[in-house]
């Protein structure tokens, strides 16, 4: 009977401070302060890009920033009916409409939303639309609520000078959930640690060495390990270690803490784990260690709390 598969659920969440640079910096500053949309124009080819880029993609020369109208024509749109998974940029419940708009004064399409409340059935490519600005603006793309049909909208392009980029960076976050599958061998390994406090390894069919974690492939030989498992004691030798002092946001352990690469007795590979029950300065390469098991075990690396010196 193969063991039922186990999966490690986790996520990677990281904060960011995205630099806006000259183009997005001006664009967002103008959004916030002047309710104005700006683009960029290449002196050579004359094409006006909205949103602006700093340089021309064809000749790589720096571009000049130019204002465009906040009204134009609808190039195309999609009515989004499925909600993307939760994430820091979620727009809420569908339906909502993503649109491409050719603003007056621009030679490219601006991607944005159609304002909530506008019936998608009333939208036709080629129709005239205008941006609906929010009263309270933060210097974000969503300072425009969305575009709405506006048959009479005039193309007003204010020619007052474009502001320097006052918004220099934008804070944000990325958060991605993962389900990392253990696969057959690691499932068995963690069922053994969880249920029997037992360390199990595999043996390479070619070099006969023992691998813990018990992978099914000996990478050095590119050969499968044998089907028969090897039981090992929960004692080990410390090969090398560190004491971590450096803190950083999102760190899974609070420093200072000690961990190292250790070799289970009978194994030919190294295994990472925490070292505890000893003062940091007494930890030495080559010292003998024993696993300290957690009372509550869930079938992961922390079925073992840490390794402490073996008192022989």
């Amino acid at each position: 009977m193969p063991d039922e598969p186990m999966v490690l659920k986790g996520n990677i969440t990281a904060p960011y401070n995205w630099t806006t640079g000259q183009a997005a910096g001006r664009f967002l500053t103008e959004f916030k302060e002047n309710r104005r949309i700006i683009g960029a124009k290449c002196a050579d080819c004359g094409v006006v890009f909205v949103p602006p880029q700093e340089f021309c993609r064809t000749c790589l020369k720096m571009m000049e920033f130019v204002p465009v109208s906040d009204a134009g024509t609808l190039t195309g749109f999609t009515v989004v009916e499925t909600k993307p998974p939760d994430n820091p940029f979620s727009l809420g419940d569908p339906p909502y409409v993503i649109a491409a708009v050719r603003l007056e004064g621009a030679d490219t399409d601006f991607i944005h939303l159609i304002r909530k409340g506008v019936a998608p059935s009333s939208l036709k490519p080629g129709m005239r639309v205008r941006a609906v600005w929010k009263e309270e603006r933060k210097g974000n793309l969503l300072d425009i609520e969305g575009f709405e049909p506006a048959p009479e909208a005039a193309a007003v392009i204010s020619d007052q000078p474009i502001l320097e980029p006052k918004i220099r960076e934008v804070k944000g976050k990325v958060s991605v959930p993962y389900n990392w599958a253990y696969g057959e061998n690691i499932t068995k390994f963690f069922k053994e640690t969880r249920d029997n406090k037992r360390i199990m390894g595999t043996r390479c069919s070619k070099c006969r060495k023992v691998l813990v974690p018990p992978v099914a492939l000996c990478g050095r030989c590119f050969a499968m390990t044998e089907e028969k498992w090897v039981e090992l004691p929960d004692t080990a030798t410390l090969v090398a270690h560190t004491v971590v002092y450096l803190p950083f946001p999102g760190q899974p352990q609070e420093p200072p803490y000690a961990y190292g690469m250790l070799r289970f007795d009978g194994a030919d590979t190294q295994f990472p784990h925490l070292i505890g029950g000893i003062e940091f300065d007494k930890i030495k390469c080559g010292m003998r260690l024993k696993a300290v098991w957690n009372e509550e075990r869930k079938g992961d690396l922390f079925d073992i709390k840490y390794f402490e010196p073996l008192r022989e």
């Binding site: 960011y16 009515v79 998974p85 490519p125 993962y178 389900n179 599958a181 990478g219």
Partner: protein
């Protein structure tokens, strides 16, 4: 070209929407071992390994770290192209052309089910202009489909026909995730995900691996009696911001195909190519891709599918494997197309074989709305 290079073997895992019982490393070495075994060679016969995978998909940064051994890359010349596998194949082709290596293995994989396509594709957006709209491949694709269909009057039914055709083909592909035929009515009645794209016009989340083995002439001839010679390759990146591109035209793909055709001496693709495998994540994309490949004029993709030319038995069957609509393992999709195209010209495509196929085209794509594209031409002679 300084020397001739061929595809001499390949392997695909049986693609599934979720392979929760398999560690990704296991998936990889099983496919690698199968590719070696089927080609009748050992890992020692491989000079260099090139992989295609993605950190954010794997949830493991520098995604080749923990699978170098599974790929048989231990103490080998190794590198990673973080694009669709077709780009890795093009780079591997260059490595062999240079004369530095005689044999190479390309490994492309992902487990889409361990994350979510929204994150893999949505996080490709820039932080300022696109990210706040929570876009992803579906919504950018839907916008593109809308612009394309409006421009040329391509209908929803014509797009749906691509799904019907590819699902029918996929039913004969033992590696496909989706192996059940669907009717035009079923496609047209399936729920809209983002207009105009319907559920049955979208790819399934896919876990799996594709491995391709390439060799230079002398070795290729020893390894197989039916090498698939690479006669042309091209890859081109278009503009990043979707609004800065003409969404209705795949200008970059047209150029990439032109580069590949020039090398392969193809002047009339519809007449000279016998079969094409393309990466259509959504049904409408196959029509746009066919246009950019020059199989029909701009805007004539709808008529092309109506005429049946791209069906099995047509003048130029497109996606006998069922394409990405039947299995879309990110990073591997384009390499699967190359593997399938090679099987076609080697006459080893089983139930999905196009009889007498001599010249095949494979297309891979990376980026939102088919932004970057690679084309490889394979030939029996």
């Amino acid at each position: 070209m300084p020397r001739r290079i061929a595809i001499v073997g390949s392997a695909q895992s049986k693609f599934k929407s979720k392979l929760a019982d398999q560690h990704y490393g296991e998936l990889i070495y099983k496919a690698v071992m199968k590719a070696l075994e089927d080609t009748g060679i050992g890992i020692e016969d491989i000079d260099t390994v090139v992989s295609a995978s993605c950190d954010m998909l794997d949830g493991r940064s520098i995604s080749n770290v923990f699978v170098a051994e599974a790929m048989g890359a231990f103490l080998k010349e190794e590198t990673k192209v973080e694009e669709d596998g077709s780009f890795a194949a093009v780079y591997t082709f260059m490595r062999l052309l240079s004369g530095a290596f005689d044999t190479a293995m390309i490994v492309a994989y992902s487990k889409g089910s361990e994350s979510h396509p929204h994150f893999y594709t949505g996080l490709q957006t820039d932080p300022h202009f696109l990210r706040p709209l929570d876009l992803d491949d579906l919504t950018v694709g839907a916008l593109q489909a809308n612009v394309y269909m409006n421009r040329y009057g391509v209908t929803g039914e014509q797009c749906a026909k691509v799904a019907v055709k590819n699902r029918k083909n996929g039913s004969k592909n033992p590696y496909a995730v989706l192996r059940k035929e669907v009717s035009l009515d079923e496609v047209m009645k399936s729920p809209v995900l983002a207009s105009p794209i319907r559920e049955l016009e979208a790819y399934p989340v896919t876990d799996g691996v594709c491995v391709v083995i390439m060799a230079a002439e002398e070795k290729a001839k020893k390894m197989t009696g039916a090498p698939a010679w690479i006669t042309g390759a091209g890859h081109i990146m278009d503009g990043f911001y979707p609004g800065h591109r003409d969404l209705a035209e795949l200008k970059g793909l047209r150029k990439a195909a032109g580069d590949a055709y020039r090398a392969a001496g193809i002047k009339n693709p519809l007449g000279q190519i016998d079969v094409a495998e393309v990466s259509e994540s959504f049904a409408y994309q196959e029509l746009m891709i066919c246009e950019a490949l020059g199989l029909c004029g701009p805007g004539e993709g709808g008529k092309l599918i109506d005429g049946g030319k791209t069906e099995m038995g047509g003048a130029l069957p497109v996606n006998p494997s069922g394409g990405a609509l039947c299995a879309n393992p990110f990073m591997a999709t384009g390499l699967v197309r190359i593997a399938e195209a090679a099987l076609q010209v080697s006459g080893m495509a089983g139930e999905r074989q196009v009889p007498g196929a001599k010249t095949a085209l494979a297309h891979g794509s990376s980026g939102l709305g088919l932004m970057a594209n690679a084309v490889v031409i394979l030939s029996k002679d």
